[in-house]
Amino acid sequence: MPSFEKRAWLSLWSQCPPYIVYFLIQGLMPTVFTTFLERIACLAVVASVHAIAYLVGLALMKRQERGEPLLLDERDRAIDGRATRIAYFVLLTGMIVVGVVMPFTDTGWKITNTALFAIVLAETVRDVLIVTGYRGKARLAH
């Protein structure tokens, strides 16, 4: 498996589980964390779990690669470029909803969580497109 694809898998597996739990708690059990400090602590724990899982995975991956630098060829860059471009539009749409629409319809943590959701969704879309770029049957042209 190419190193770049491995990193996309790592990013997916380190990011999705903690944020799925976070959004489920925020969406289905809004009374569990009510004060600002409780909510920010919950977010901090989720972000920390994500960061630790990613860094530990990256360290293990680098040890497995024996410290060799990540070399990307033109196919890797083409897959990355396509995934990043589409993820950018997902993020752009999310930011328009959060910054242009929601200030007139919602307040506080709903806006914060929607912004966070847009960021996580954009990153997830990028990782999924990188993985499918390597595994998909469609022909990728430079």
Binding site: M1, P2, L71, D73, E74, R75, D76, A78, I79, G81, R82, G133, Y134, G136, K137, A138, R139, L140, A141, H142
Partner: protein
């Protein structure tokens, strides 16, 4: 009639070049082994520069290595 718009003889030429490995060819043209495999399987169309480099490794002209099939209608995920 081929279903891919761009086909190639890279696998055959590797075999004829004393069974050159994908990794070795990749190293000589600046690509990873996985990208050479993707080119051989028709899942990736390389840039013109890389196509010339591959042809040069085998001492062939570009059109002897890569073939353009205008009638083919393969699904393409364009990178640009």
């Amino acid at each position: 009639m081929p279903t891919e718009p761009l086909t190639n003889e890279v696998r055959l030429l590797r075999f004829l070049a004393q069974d050159m490995t994908q990794a070795e060819l990749g190293q000589r043209v600046g690509l990873t082994r996985q990208t050479i495999a993707a080119i051989e399987q028709g899942r990736y169309s390389p840039s013109l520069e890389v196509a010339f480099r591959i042809a040069d490794v085998f001492g062939k002209r570009l059109e002897e290595v890569f073939h353009w099939n205008p009638g083919a209608t393969a699904k393409t995920a364009d990178a640009k």
